[in-house]
Symmetry: C2
Subunit: 391 residues, 2 copies
């Protein structure tokens, strides 16, 4: 954690403190508390100190793990298994005990807690800027290293994927499967089978995973379709992997698009165009440039080639239909946004750059690298090659 940046960004709050009520699943909570509590707990930042309040069951582990200045437990506020009101009373006592009469909460903090504190006379303001999210966006060297390490696991999983695809046979007339379906050891090679290979590879390297995308053909034309069923020759197969290190909790993110066999002329053009869009967007990455600038650089490549983007047609369902990238950290999607309205880039921002083209009649192509913004540009720490046709 960058404590100086945290203190700086929270210095001009108009409230006495900053309150988070969430489990470790909330990246702001994990960042501020440093504690991997599985159930919601309170973290209060006030007077430059971080205070954590947990249940008795978590107390020992929280004392050992938390990056907080103080850890307390429910029993310190005479709370036993009581009802909801008793719990909210305890929360109010904990906040007041720190000399705090007004708190800011992040926009996605729980309204139940906010309203309960208000009923108890504590002022609650919404920190609409989500300052902790902004603090988290700029990584320390240690955080960058954690992401880099997760990216190495990512590349091992991508390698396993490419090997599986490159080694596949293609069903012909004599086979049981439909002609053109990829075969692995005589069985149709499905999205699910490739995903399993990816996830096992990541687990063996200490990473957890959420929702890997292995989508071919028309499925690849929906950027959020995770893919299912048999993969086929001559179609574009999008593989998007975003592992999370179990040890550090930091994510990585990378996409490659593969084709086994002969892609159509259109797919070849799309791939070449997308490589150019990737290069153009990366070229635009430097401190002072905005996320919007980087997005514009990718859009221009597509627009000049006559492909629709959200800039030329906000309702288009084909073409370049998403943003150019996003920050990566404790959340796989975090600040900054590389999109229209995207904020200014700063050294330490870790971002993806991931242009793509989509049309159900053609398929989908996306290429995604992950990079850190440096003092004079960026360092791309994606080592995986960019190659379309495999096998």
């Amino acid at each position: 954690m960058n404590r100086a940046r945290l203190d700086d960004r929270l210095a001009d709050l108009e409230t006495d403190g900053y309150l988070i009520d969430a489990s470790q699943d909330d990246a702001n909570q994990l960042y501020l508390s440093g504690f991997t509590g599985p159930d919601p707990f309170l973290t209060l930042y006030a007077d430059g100190e971080i205070h954590v309040l947990v249940g008795g069951l978590e107390y020992g582990r929280a004392k050992r793990e938390a990056a907080a200045d103080g850890v307390e437990r429910h029993a310190d506020y005479d709370y036993e298994y009581g009802g909801r009101e008793a719990r909210n009373d305890m929360y109010a006592r904990f906040v007041r005990d720190k000399g705090v009469e007004s708190v800011s909460m992040p926009p996605r903090g729980p309204v139940g807690t906010a309203d309960a504190l208000r009923e108890r006379g504590i002022e609650v303001a919404v920190d609409a800027d989500d300052r902790l999210r902004e603090v988290r966006a700029v990584k320390t060297d240690e955080e960058v290293d954690a992401i880099r390490e997760a990216q190495r696991a990512n590349e091992a999983a991508m390698r396993a994927t490419e090997d599986l695809l490159a080694g596949a046979d293609v069903a012909g007339d004599g086979d049981d499967a439909e002609t053109g379906v990829l075969l692995h050891e005589g069985e149709p090679l499905t999205s699910e089978r490739v995903t399993e290979e990816i996830e096992v590879t990541l687990l063996r390297r200490g990473c957890a995973l959420d929702q890997t995308i292995v989508a071919g053909g028309a499925q690849a034309a929906d950027p959020h379709d995770r893919g299912s069923g048999p993969l086929r020759a001559n179609e574009a197969i999008i593989v998007d992997i975003f592992p999370r290190s179990k040890a550090t909790k930091y994510n990585a993110d990378m996409t490659r698009t593969f084709c086994v066999g002969e892609p159509s002329e259109t797919l070849r053009e799309w791939y070449e165009l997308t490589e150019r869009a990737l290069d153009a967007a990366l070229d635009a990455v430097e401190p002072g440039a905005t996320g919007e600038d980087v997005h514009a650089a990718a859009c221009e490549v597509y627009e000049e080639a006559g492909e629709p983007t959200f800039r030329t047609d906000p309702e288009t369902e084909t073409g370049f239909i998403h943003s150019t990238g996003h920050g990566v950290g404790l959340d796989v999607h975090e600040s900054p946004r590389l999109a229209t309205g995207g904020e200014e880039l700063e050294p330490g921002h870790v971002i993806t750059v991931e242009p793509g083209l989509y049309d159900p009649d053609v398929g989908g192509v996306r290429i995604e690298d992950i990079a850190v913004v440096t003092e004079d540009g960026y360092e791309n720490f994606t080592e995986y090659p960019i190659e379309f046709v495999v096998g």
Copy 2:
């Protein structure tokens, strides 16, 4: 989803509608919308109909997947990539478009959205009872089958664990490792190695996983310690596995405690006592009994044997220091609670029963089964044997 129960529980709301702003990570959202959206989206229940609002990128998939009566996209409200205020304006228009001037939100709904709607003249009340959580607690037959299926994967993973432990050697004077450490293929058998085996087994069976517990010795005395480092002979090793089916999104949950070698007399007594507490608690499970009754049944077994519980000593850090169980469904921890204050059991509740004893000087023992409450008692669908000493 039990739509009749949903309609019934939402019938007497004092607001016009019920609003959820969350991603699929929120079980209420996944349940009500039926849509696996990765980013937060709105679901509004009003006049007996479910309406979903998503971004353009999710629209096609939401139309196919969602269990809603209507799916709309941001463009239907003339929203393009705008700022926060424009987004909140769109949310208010979506709500009003359904004839809704007041909404209830669950206690953990986002305060940012609640306050933004209030600023736009829409009344927002907190549904402190979390009614959707209550609706979710009672499962349909289909939901029970989904949990049962995840439990079969769980048992395969537990079998792999027991085989690994039972097949382990114990380091002696001639070995590199410390005497008493378990060895697998000549290397110390660690919590991490066993966890990996569990997770790979679950992945191969279509399950995701979050935080498996494999904790031995003093680590097992902290019920939430996930365990790390070499496992040892003659100590109690707690293995708590809670997989989630990727297809259905339903969880299972089971714990066993194993010992390779010779457990101490105290550990043997604890194990026997915990088996008795499990039986006593299960015997108390029937419709009309409360979660508090079931918890009391387990506590009494321990208390009669002189072991501390939260009932006899709210601040104890040893003995039976957690609740007896919890509901399982889309969340691994959900209603009902089998604890002091726990609600009345109903047919269709799927619950864990998991008594245990803990003391850093002795170790930890926990045995956990999963069962469904039936019309006249319960059906325990845990098939895994209860045996302490293995190998």
